[in-house]
Amino acid sequence: MKNKILIPIIAAGTALLTGCGTNAHYIQSGGSQSVVSIGQINIQDYMQAADAMTGDLIASGVLSRVPNPPAVLAISRIVNNTGQQIDMDLLTKKIRIGLLQSGKAVTTTTFGLGGTAEDPMAKGIQQENQFKSDQNTTRLPDFTLSGSIIQLAVKAGDTSQSTYSFQLSLTDPKSGLAVWEGEKDITKQGTRSSVGF
């Protein structure tokens, strides 16, 4: 008799706990509910930095100063000077998308650092076409984008603070001069209880 009452109660309680136990849910990428971690660059930091520098680059007007717009951009070396492993595409892809949508610049995927193409198939097809037409139709980049991400970490008592400095330069490869420079600093601060891995 007791088992007939207890077992369903236990089963219902287990189901209730299991159902209420998971709190996984979707949030907006880079939104206000995103986790802010001091020791790492978060997705909202990449979005914020890319947004700010893309806007600054567009507003500068330098991309319009090319003989055949839109300008062709090649991604050069962006150095990681932080204490974490970073995939630079998290920053550069957002910038590339922003510039492409603006109509001011396109990025070459057949010109890469050290001769490595981002899209080797596109490069192969391009070379095949050039061979067949006997014409060099490659449009060389008008600008190259390079830079670095630097981390400055400080601590005062229980308070930890990290500043991530996103620095980019746009270079005219014909002259070797930087025609645009941009920097975005993102600083995060927290107490010991909020610092974690």
Binding site: Q28, G30, S32, S34, A50, G55, I58, S64, S102
Partner: protein, 138 residues
């Protein structure tokens, strides 16, 4: 008596140490730059945020490349620093939102009694309108 005085003195020191500085400003009485202010429509669902960080006004301009630039003046109506988040949304001439996945939510801070400007540049020339979202920070 001495104990009471010591306690009052200690309390005064503690209060002084906890004082959050607010901002004094000084500027040209007849500023050269004239802002092109626009009338705005506001929806306030968070009165706490509005009491603390209020929108003073909006002005717009066009960049040399033909992109819409928006500047918003915010005022911290309290005497202590406030954290807030903001995000600009952009719309084309048909009212369709542009660049949904690209617009970042920005976290910022405004000092006590500070008047602060935040600004953004539209992602494309097709952006003709905008909306600003403000959220109280953590």
């Amino acid at each position: 008596m001495r104990t009471k005085l010591a306690a009052i003195f200690g309390l005064a020191l503690a209060v002084a140490g906890c004082h959050s500085p607010s901002v004094n400003t000084v500027q040209n009485a007849q500023p050269t730059g004239q802002r092109s202010m626009i009338s705005d429509s506001r929806v306030v669902s968070d009165t706490t945020l509005d009491r603390r960080v209020g929108v003073v006004g909006l002005n717009t301009a066009m960049t040399a490349g033909g992109f819409l630039k928006v500047q918003v003046e915010l005022l911290n109506r309290t005497r202590s620093p406030q954290n807030f988040n903001y995000q600009f949304q952009w719309f084309d001439v048909n009212g369709m939102q542009i660049g949904v996945s690209q617009t970042a939510m920005v976290g910022d801070e405004i000092d006590g009694a500070e008047s602060k400007f935040i600004s953004a540049i539209a992602p494309t020339e097709a952006a003709k309108d905008f909306r600003l979202k403000l959220l109280l920070g953590q």
